[in-house]
Symmetry: C2
Subunit: 326 residues, 2 copies
């Protein structure tokens, strides 16, 4: 009997569904639209059908498969309540009791749990990735925003209300750049992919850098991959973007170390593909901010989750974690 | 049979020893010198004698007393190892195996544990104080330095090495004031009692404030109590010191909320005696930095531990916490 878990990743436009084995391999997967109509009952019915289809598909591959549960990663996902609450990028309004609604379609499923996408990534790292066997670590996911998942004594930190681990919204620069959440100077405004773009444009303006390889891109056009490509070619602006992003991220990670003293920090997401361009200044600057007792002992590591499947795989990991608690 | 615990608070110049009942009342207490000679064996022998004397004293008061353990709060105390490690304000060098050394004198004591002073205060708040029944809260201790104790799922956060919860060393101002630890811009450099003094002198210099009530004090003389007294009399500099200290502390507490989403935040220590002068700007400024999901739901409360006995009481609470784990 091969044991598997279903991972569901609810994004702003797409919902990805996959069946994952205990080693983190995606056996089958599919996508459905995350609708913009805002009708949750309609969506749940579509989602349940899509999940059932994936179960059929995996049973064609292997008749002896045992489905142990469904793990869901979603923006503003609340583990305690099984809810998605006021997610700004989804069409469903207010508080959505997703786990309860989905439970009606899967009454016998052993585990059915939901958390936010960054927490799911952290659990994925713990179950399948580089954090296997670690009891205390943190994961930062760098993308359109910056998410984080914090693990203390082997468990995700959910806090008093299920929303803990929002390290992307710690303040790096008092009175600094407006964040998407409307507060000033948050980490996300500096260390996300759009944050790097903002830094590039600030630097071009500062140096009046008409000769930069980035100078022929519009604000709308530029992305973090272009900044990386320019850095590889030795473009000074692009190189300084990475230096500054690393300085900010290092400052933020040091704050997290002073809170939790983790064994390691994992970074995940598009900007981390730049490797040493981002890891080196981040590490150097984190060290500058640390108390002596923490210096030179906390590695900053790239996530071992495969980029394409990480969201599904992370969500599925929630199932093993749940069953582990029983 | 009345059950009691012994609390030991090791400070830079004094070691306080007290016997505490399950309601947090100090039944008997005493002080010995924390020596400057650096001879740990000598000190342990003195400490063991002093503890035995307190046990005798409490048995004179009540023959039926049962001593359940010894809890110790110490600077750079490491709960995992029972050690004091490289404490800058103690004469003992390197790593001191305090619990092991003391165990030789108390082989039959049910619980014998050590942690740092801020963690001890947090456990004290949880066992005897305002955090009774809370599973997720944080405590900041404001004094010569700024310490913190973080509680997640009902347990102190010790991290991978026993040193977690050093929120006094998160960065508030990039490139800001030198902290005692030599890094720049840490919270402790702004929100400790000496931090408030630094702010007062910066403001007097900025405004050339010869008319301030604080203007006749030397740098060495001024303390946070004098700033409070001047604020009560309406002194503009003193009032602005509280506004600015609250702004900085609020920023730091918001970072902690984004990490842990606590049910409440407790403040302890000298500067908190100023009441609304410090609590009001702290709360207002914390709110400014928070994500909407955290706004208006996390109270900032004064510690309910009695100022004079808090260190002993906090240390003793470690005993109940230990026995609870068994």
């Amino acid at each position: 009997m091969k044991k598997v878990a279903i991972g569901v990743d609810i994004g702003g436009t797409n919902t990805a569904i996959g069946v994952v084995d205990q080693e983190g391999n995606v056996l089958v997967k599919n996508n459905i639209e995350t609708p913009s109509h805002g009708d949750i009952d309609h969506y749940i019915s579509d989602l349940a059908s899509a999940i059932k289809e994936q179960i059929k598909s995996v049973k064609i591959l292997n008749e002896e498969v045992e489905i142990l549960g469904i793990g869901i990663g979603a923006p503003n996902g609340n583990y305690y309540n099984g809810t998605i609450e006021y997610a700004p990028n989804l069409s469903f309004q207010g508080v959505i009791h997703l786990v309860k609604l989905l439970r009606n379609h899967f009454p016998d499923m052993a585990a059915l749990a939901l958390t936010n996408d960054a927490n799911a990534a952290a659990i994925g790292e713990m179950i399948y990735g580089g954090a296997k066997g670690m009891q205390n670590f943190v994961m930062f996911t760098l993308g359109t925003g910056v998410g984080s998942g914090l693990v203390v004594n082997g468990d995700l930190v959910y806090g008093s209300d299920g929303f803990a681990g929002e390290c992307g919204h710690t303040t790096l620069v008092p009175g600094g750049r407006p964040c998407g959440c409307s507060a000033l100077g948050h980490l996300e405004a500096y260390c996300s992919a759009p944050g790097m773009k903002r830094t590039a444009f600030e630097l071009m303006a500062h140096y009046n850098a008409n000769d930069s390889l980035l100078a022929d891109k519009s604000y709308k056009e530029l992305d973090s991959k272009m900044i990386y490509d320019a850095a590889v070619k030795g473009d000074k602006i692009a190189l300084e973007v990475f230096e500054k992003t690393g300085a900010w991220l290092g400052q933020g990670l040091a704050d997290t170390v002073h809170h939790l003293s983790p064994e390691a920090i994992f970074l995940f997401g598009g900007p981390t593909a730049a490797g040493d361009y981002i890891f080196k200044p981040t590490k150097e600057n984190m060290e500058k901010h640390l108390l002596p007792i923490f210096k030179d002992k906390i590695p900053i590591l790239p996530s071992k989750l495969k980029a394409g499947d990480a969201a599904i795989v992370g969500a599925s990991a929630l199932v093993w974690k749940e069953l582990d608690k029983k």
